[in-house]
Amino acid sequence: MSAVTQLPPAYEGEWKLPSRGRVAMFGLIIGESAIFTIFVVAYLFYIGKSLSGPTPQQVLEVPIFGTICLLSSSLTIWMAERSIERDNVTGFGAWLGATICLGLVFLGGTAVEWHKLIYRDGLTISTNLFGTTYYSLVGLHATHVIIGLLMLTIVFIFTLTGKVGRRYAERIAVLSMYWHFVDAVWVVVFTVVYIIGR
């Protein structure tokens, strides 16, 4: 009977398992990556196949500024992570706020870009294959940015009301995994839409 409780020496020590939050977020990222991959494949396949209407070369302007903002927000959220690990709540709030602002600037840039495309260039999701694949892919990404910003804002509000402390560092790390994912997807989308597709 007691044989079962005698563990080999190796296991007398710590039984260390990965954090469930991280594993789950990793799983979500894999699933989401598959969704984005399908939209990216559709985009790539349909390059040059539109039968009419404006082409990417004619109407797309490379969103350098927005991209720099979004990619920088990965840096700022990383700084925020480090702050909260050291229990520096003020620093955390500052960096988190910066992240949110940078994300909002990116979204604003997308909004301005889409306004131009729709009203000045006449490109909508139904115009041609380019329109369909462009708005779907960029829109899917923008939706994920919005969801991320919503979650970051909720955390920001909790920070302002003093609820956040070092004990939440793990959960914040999980959230920032998501944010890094959103940025990584943007690198892919940017490359496919503004570099390869143009």
Partner: protein, 564 residues
């Protein structure tokens, strides 16, 4: 006793005292708000069995229509809705739900945990899935379809473009298909993530990955595969909805879009999906066969490697569903090779099961009967799969009844048989009572006979040139007798499943009391009470081998002395 980490049979019952009689409403409320993985598992399986009966009835209706040529039991419109719903229901509302129900119930118990990693996400995922299924069935009475009664999807479960475009499918049939599956897809994603997190992060002390029961290993692989299987379908369905409602052109051939792209996306989902469905069948066989052969599984590491191999290779075979669409000869050749390659780890598994039985002491209780039939039937299914992978032969067999026979051999002959085995095996754990053996044997033999009468015959009518998805056929094609025989087998299967349903209910109230471990098994779920208390284990278990209960029962010959 203080040192023991596993409760002895009949030891103190540490469950909370039951409250005084609850009203029906309180009882239902408990089930609706539960986050207990065991209850959610039961909800999934009950939901799945209900829709098994519904989709089974659809199958019987289909077979009545096809029993004689030029039959008018159902109109073309109704028939097309029935075969579409039969396929869609069986894959999503029966297969996926029962599989994740089993995983939900058993994985935490097998790894020595108290619940899943995210109990509330678990509940949310179940209700999303359940709602999605109800949305799909609402289509029979809702919407404004152009053809016939109601608006149930009628485009085949594969919903090829451009048939699903607004131009060719006005009305809401296709929308019900796409939207309900998108909703269910999110539910499935949540559960898959939950299972992965649970297995990685909540194993009990000493249970390394290579000491996990194979059922849990396969559910881990299955959940990982699900993450990248369901999501392409979700993406493609978003694209379809964009085409239908925002005038998008993803699959709009008039605007330069491609119908073949839909096929690629669908089968990039569709093929791995059948592995998502079959891996849990293997998972169940991996538990039942050793216990009823009284031997450890032969080649545990190889079984793990083969399962992971199957999952990866299955991602590269999808276009064997598209050999006839006009891909280049080089592409066709590639998919022949990849498809045959996925047969290798699959075959290895069959050999490992054979080697497990070899030299054992086989007990023919109902779970084992279903598993033995599974072994023969899965062998045949795999071989007809190899036949179908031969592209030129596929040019004849594709979309014929040979394919229908093949995939029913896998879905029913392998998966449903293993699900039945699993239910007979774990019902005692879930309810505390044994399923009746006599009814079980009637169920088994009738189902076996009906299955073979139907699906063995079906191969031949496919070889004689009968295509699938047809609501009727010409009397002079020589398919009449074979169809009649096929239909007769369907009735027998229906009777068998009804006996099973009766057994489930009857045994709940009158079955023999099971105790903790009625089968003399070896994994952790058998160390706790039947049914388990809500917290699963009185103390967190500590394990030292793949079969902790074997070690307990055979202290002179424990597994950990032999495992590397």
């Amino acid at each position: 006793m203080g040192e023991n980490s596993l409760p002895l049979p009949g030891s103190l019952d540490m469950a909370r005292p039951r409250p005084a009689a609850r009203t029906l409403l309180e009882h239902l409320h408990e089930w609706v708000v539960t986050v207990d993985h065991k209850r959610l598992g039961i909800l999934y399986v009950v939901y799945g069995i209900f829709f098994l009966l519904v989709a089974g009835a659809q199958a019987v209706a289909i077979r009545i229509q096809l029993a004689v040529p030029r039959n008018d039991f159902m109109s073309a419109q109704t028939y097309n809705r029935f075969f579409t719903m039969h396929g869609t229901t069986m894959v999503f509302l029966v297969g996926m739900t029962i599989i994740f129900g089993f995983a939900n119930y058993l994985v935490p118990l097998q790894i020595g945990a108290r619940d899943m990693a995210f109990p509330r996400l678990n509940a949310f995922s179940f209700w999303l899935t359940a709602f999605g299924g109800l949305l799909l069935y609402y289509s029979f009475i809702g919407g404004g379809g152009l053809y016939g009664v109601g608006s149930a999807p009628d485009v085949g479960w594969w919903a090829y473009a451009p048939l699903t475009a607004r131009a060719f499918s006005p009305g809401h049939a296709t929308d019900f298909w796409a939207l309900s599956l998108i909703v269910m897809g999110f539910g499935t994603l949540g559960t898959a993530i939950n299972i992965i997190a649970t297995i990685f992060s909540m194993r009990c002390k000493g249970m390394t990955m290579m000491r996990m029961p194979l059922f849990s290993w396969l559910m881990l692989v299955d959940s990982g595969l699900t993450l990248i299987t369901i999501t392409p379908l979700t993406a493609a369905q978003f694209m379809l909805v964009i085409d239908r409602y925002l005038d998008g052109h993803f699959f709009d051939t008039q605007a330069g879009g491609s119908a073949v792209v839909w096929m690629h996306f669908f089968w990039i989902f569709g093929h791995p999906e059948v592995y998502v469905l079959v891996l849990p069948a293997f998972a169940i066989a991996n538990e039942v066969i050793p216990v009823f052969s009284r031997k450890a599984i032969f080649g545990y590491p190889a079984m793990v490697a083969a399962s992971v191999g199957i999952a990866f290779i299955s991602l590269s075979v999808w276009a064997h569903h598209m050999f006839t669409v006009g891909m280049t000869s080089a592409s066709n050749a590639f998919f022949v090779l990849s498809t045959e390659m996925v047969g290798i780890p699959t075959g290895i598994k069959i050999f490992n099961w054979l080697a497990t039985i070899w030299g054992g002491k086989i007990r023919f209780a109902t779970p084992m009967l279903f598993c033995i039939a599974f072994l023969f039937q899965f062998l045949i299914a795999g071989l007809t799969g190899i036949m179908l992978s031969i592209a030129p032969w596929n040019w004849q067999l594709h979309n014929s009844y040979f394919v229908v026979a093949h995939f029913h051999y896998v879905l029913v002959g392998a998966i449903v048989f293993c699900i039945f085995a699993g239910i007979y095996y774990w019902y005692p754990k879930v309810t505390g009572r044994m399923l009746d053996e006599t009814m079980g044997k009637w169920h088994f033999w009738l189902f076996l006979i009906g299955f073979h009468v139907t699906f063995d015959t079906m191969h031949f009518v496919g070889l004689l040139g009968m295509p699938r998805s047809i609501y009727t056929y010409e009397p002079d094609r020589g398919w009449t007798t074979l169809n009649l025989v096929t239909s007769a087998g369907g009735i027998v299967q229906g009777i068998a499943v009804l006996i099973f349903a009766v057994n489930l209910v009857w045994s709940y109230y009158r079955g023999k009391l099971a105790g903790n471990d009625p089968w003399d098994a070896w994994t952790l779920e058998w160390s706790t009470a039947s049914p388990p208390p809500v917290y699963n284990f009185a103390q967190d278990p500590v394990v030292r081998s793949r079969r902790p209960l074997w070690d307990l029962k055979h202290p002179e010959d424990p597994d950990w002395e032999y495992e590397g």
